[in-house]
Symmetry: none
Subunit: 421 residues, 2 copies
Amino acid sequence: MKAEVITIGDELLYGQIQDFNSSFISERLTAEGIEVVFKTSVGDDINRIAEAFNIARSRADVIITSGGLGPTSDDLTKKAVVKAFKRNLVFHQEILKQIEDSFHKRGSSMPKINQNQALIPQGAKALSNLWGVAPGIFLEDKETLFFAVPGVPVEMKWMVENEVLPVLRTKKFTGSMGPEHFILHRKLKTTGISESALYEKIEKLIDPTEEIKIAFLPGYLGVDIRLTLETGDRNQAQVKIDEFEQKTREILGIYIYGTDDQTLEGVIGKLLLERKKTIAVAESCTGGLIGARFTNISGSSRYFERGVVTYSNEAKTEFLNVPTEIIEKYGAVSEEVAILMAEGVRRLAKTDYGLSVTGIAGPTGGTPQKPVGLVFIGFAHENDSFAQKFLLGEDRKINRERATQAALNLVRLFLIKQVSE
Amino acid sequence: MKAEVITIGDELLYGQIQDFNSSFISERLTAEGIEVVFKTSVGDDINRIAEAFNIARSRADVIITSGGLGPTSDDLTKKAVVKAFKRNLVFHQEILKQIEDSFHKRGSSMPKINQNQALIPQGAKALSNLWGVAPGIFLEDKETLFFAVPGVPVEMKWMVENEVLPVLRTKKFTGSMGPEHFILHRKLKTTGISESALYEKIEKLIDPTEEIKIAFLPGYLGVDIRLTLETGDRNQAQVKIDEFEQKTREILGIYIYGTDDQTLEGVIGKLLLERKKTIAVAESCTGGLIGARFTNISGSSRYFERGVVTYSNEAKTEFLNVPTEIIEKYGAVSEEVAILMAEGVRRLAKTDYGLSVTGIAGPTGGTPQKPVGLVFIGFAHENDSFAQKFLLGEDRKINRERATQAALNLVRLFLIKQVSE
């Protein structure tokens, strides 16, 4: 079963908007064992959209398009379906009712323009949209399964998970489209180690004749190692990939913080809960990002007690009792201040742990002694406190995110007893 | 002059890697006035790559491909050129010399496998690669200008800027592909109003026969209105698009917070600096996101004094002096507590303004009276304080970001005197 993903919208071709939708859809299809063979982006032009649909029909069994389902005149997906599949649009009273209801639920009445969203191609089925108004479309045309979902990410994601994939799961086994075939992936997520260092450590595991393929996916918060296995037997593949993960973990140890959808903050949250420990955070250059990462996790109130963003020196002194003289002597960005901030927030919040960050995010504020990218991360616990120094890069946004990641990772390493001083 | 961008590599179809290369190339082409009509991603499969090249030849004057130029066996771009354009590969001694030199410069000798990078299609020109080894390719075939650049972003970017665009600039004016032609864009960024409501308000400005095209780009933090004008005269286009923006602003007024690359936090930062005002923030469900947005802006320390993430009720009481009885009587998520939090953080930080958020981000913690998505935003200033109630959705991540956006927007509206109670 081969698939093509088509994303629709001029903005995708101007390069101003990143096409995260097609990645999401591709990833979900791949996880289901459906091979994505092409991705196409096309602008808001009815002829070009119809052309893309026709080309896709000639080379894929499944077509998923995203975008162009809104009520306005630049939303052309349905008109292109009419053209490519030679179907008329049919008005559905029950769809109109659903659209009206979804406006009423929000306490407003349906604008007249949304009426046209109740039109769908003849023979097609409307797909429901939990997060928005525009229904999706599922059309089975000869050997082609065609789905149209909205371009708004939250609507698209829900519809793919809840309306598209369930249909494909049925079709895959009952349809006439070839034997079961899976591509199994596993991501081993690392942080705090470079791509080349990772490569050198696990080079001996990489055998091009092996069934399991290894790819390194570097990002600025860490490198993911992707294992890929194509197979016809899901259980056997699972065993093989588990074994390979085990071998990799034996070499990489603490560098791997999680797999697949696990997040660093999720892993830390679990560790804190298991150990019944609480934490509070004092941030300077990260401006709230560490608190935001901790509280990404539902239920984080059980271990994340509070955070302070002590952007000014006064705040560091008043909130955290960092003495003015220390700030004057060593500077706000220093090991000494990082330690006192961590101790201060721990005392203030009466938590088991205190975490702090102070640094120079840039682009301004650097000196030859203390360049942009210099960051100290402090950590205080019952018996001791310490700080680690990091030298990051020159980009403000990336420095802030990297400092956040490094701070979280330090907590993780402390919790698994891999760092103490 | 129409272009197609083709990115090559299995990883793009697994959805695990974001295709930033095609956005970069599209943006640079668009800025040169070259219309990108399609983007295609294809895996490491010689037949499919050749098919993508042939389809692109039939519908675009310029083709730019990225990826598949490395020395290993899964690098198939040149072989696909052989197939699609029916050209042989020719060995070039001087290219081999350059490749050897670039290894020597790094203090190593050339691995044998890199020899094949000195092969390029007959009649093609090699493009130099400042940051890597693989040369690019420029092939002029009948009416088609074909470029192949590497997939490594830093190599791709340099080669596009320094080798591809200069060729296109010459061709555009001397070639047979039409007169100088620009596409001018402007984005008007709105928040706090739905796509349909925006559409109804400015419907009368939308004239399909007009030169200026309007598109609505909805996201969950707001809707951008994109104006597009294709033209041969850049100055005249600027005037026209300015006029159109003016007409739109007359209707939409305060809903527009900025244009193009402006951010809501940047706009607020400018307003605070102009008025010499400072602000402090007390966050609950947003967990630090508001502080992080404020401090996105370099120089924000001049107006953002501090933030507190009072996740626990104790923190609300201790930091902000919100009386326990009030929390017990009205609940932590209430108008009363939001107001007291804003007043508390303003007093604590001795700033002109205090901003607060308290809400239920979900997925758990909701009740029939106080459902998931209920958020109160409080604001305190010299003379008064108030809170606004918002009913957001069911998704934790989106609720947190929406609450953050709503809080920032409330500050903006206060600063431009559009909200006071």
